[in-house]
Amino acid sequence: MIARLLHGVPKRALILLGLLLAFLLVAPLFVGNYILSVLILVLYFAYTGQAWNVMMGFAGQLSLGHSLYVGLGAYTAAALYVHFGIGPWAGVWIAIIISMAAGLVIGFLAFRFGIGGVYFALLTIAFAEFTRVGFDHFMWVNGSGGFFLPVTQYSVNDPLNLRGSPMMFYYILLTITVLAFIFCRWLLTGRIGYYWLAIREEPEAAQTLGINIFRYKMIAVAISSGMTALSGVFFAFYYNNLFPEQIFSMNRSIELILGPIIGGVGSLFGPILGAFVLTALAEALNDIMVALGYELPGVKLVFYGFCLLFVVMWLPNGIWPPLRKWLKLEDRS
């Protein structure tokens, strides 16, 4: 299996990847709390972007409602923890199952009824909005008033209950992100990855070749929604508060997909690169605004908007493909 994962990858790429990993492993030991929180944000967007990328980048199905899966994952794990004392590592499986079920229902309806392209994207938004308003009135998790997890002191790390310091969260998230990266590489180099490529590029030709399009699209949706649920669980236990208005919002869905789009849709490293670039730029912008004593709501998102506009107009494949070429890291398989 390892041979398959490494097949065609230039040595230079592995060395650079190793250096990046080493940097991420030791970075928290040298940086302050603020930079650590930024790094957590980077990893969060890298992981979630990777999850979205499975559906859009690999299988070509544009979802603009991924906040649905983040929210369902977050609320499921948090509610199980608060109401029944079920720990996050048990709850995460239920969260994944519920998110996957939601994804499969949407996928089934869309793919069975032949809803594609723009209509599919709108359907994903519609379901996310539907759920958002539904949770606003779902009193078991306190509706629009927000749902809160008990906050504990940072001095005690309890990884089993995901209670502890940001440092602990960082390493857990790093592990998840690395595993997701390897998992996606494994998917892409296998039969399923080639099927997805065929479905994304030429669905009719793929069907002619005997690929069960419906089944493989459904698998993509299931994997993507399940992975996204995990980031929701992380979100719930890291931030300790959930509001339907925020977690299910359309803005959140768009924020999640900016990283992979700017990095490069469909590439493995795109979401990671995009998360770094976008978060770093946004934080830098924030600091500049604060330093200038000039705090306006909305500046960050206007900036995001222009980044997105710039990338989609002049770098339609994101910044990773040209960067990869420049670094001479192209896949030789």
Binding site: L109, I125, V133, G134, D136, I254, K300, L301, G305, L309
Partner: protein, 289 residues
């Protein structure tokens, strides 16, 4: 619950729905011809609403008057957007177009947020609270006026597309892109014109909307979604469909607000959208693709 109350709410819902329908009509016209989904539609409407609010605040101009220059302004904006941003994207994949317009939408919402702040604003004309008595019903005067205007604008647009040369040329582009090119129509200019017309309509709707609802920057995305819901229910590209969809959504929201909670009303609209997408994806009055 008394029958008069239910009937009053229903009529008000239908009247509001006609203005919703006018807003969605802009989206429908653009999609029907250019085949690009304007993801910044509600945001453009919000810009028009703020223009009307500023005109009223600064010079005390009634939104029903300022809607004419505002429609012209939005026409120019739509024309420029199509010519500069969207025309180069005509042959790009759907998701690229979508992301392009999503980026424009994000810039618009947050630009408005930077300029006007998050507070709700409205226009209080002196006839804002007048009502008309129809038998046992008491109907808001502004709703009647805006609904009639919405119908009149729709009729005018319909005549424009059926009778004028430019209208016919635009319909030719929509029916057969290649054929339109072959007979020598300047398709890119006609696309820009269409986007301008769709934007002018949403501009007029935005100015009227200030009489009906409070405006905040964040209503932009809500109305984008609303416009999608309406045109998909009515049938993307169908002009009567947009009005019908608007009326249906207006009625549903009014009833949902009356029988459940006003905050839950969007859920019902979205639920109808999901049902229509599944069982009649071309919409109630749309033609099969």
């Amino acid at each position: 619950m008394p029958a008069e109350l239910i009937l009053t709410v229903a009529v008000q819902g239908i009247l509001t729905g006609l203005v919703y329908g006018l807003m969605a009509l802009g989206l429908s016209v653009i999609f029907g011809v250019v085949r690009v989904v304007n993801f910044a539609h509600g945001e453009m409407m919000t810009i028009a609403s703020y223009a009307a609010i500023v005109a009223f605040g600064a010079w005390n101009i009634d939104p029903l008057v300022s809607m004419i220059p505002i429609a012209v302004l939005l026409f120019a904006m739509g024309y420029a957007m199509q010519a500069a941003l969207i025309n180069p994207f005509i042959n790009r994949p759907e998701h690229s177009q979508f992301i392009l317009l999503a980026a424009v939408a994000i810039i618009m919402v947050n630009g408005l947020l930077m300029i006007f702040g998050p507070d709700a604003r409205n226009v209080l004309v002196d006839y804002a609270l007048d009502s008309i008595e129809v038998g046992p019903l008491l109907i808001d005067k502004v709703r009647v006026i805006t609904a009639v205007l919405a119908l009149a604008i729709t009729a005018g647009l319909f005549a424009f597309f059926k009778l004028s040369r430019i209208g016919k040329a635009i319909r030719a582009c929509a029916d057969n892109h290649m054929g339109a090119l072959v007979v020598g129509l300047n398709v890119k200019r006609l696309y820009a014109l269409t986007f301008g017309i769709g934007s002018a309509i949403v501009g007029a709707a935005g100015a009227m909307m200030t009489l009906l609802i409070d405006t905040t920057p964040n209503v932009g995305p809500v109305f984008t979604l609303q416009a999608f819901v309406i045109v998909i229910i009515g049938g993307l590209g169908s002009m009567p469909g947009a009005l019908l969809g608007g009326v249906l959504i207006g009625l549903t929201e009014a009833m949902a607000g009356l029988f459940f909670a006003p905050s839950a009303k969007t859920m019902f609209g979205v639920a109808i959208l999901i049902l229509v997408l599944l069982f009649r994806p071309q919409g109630l009055l749309g033609r099969k693709a």
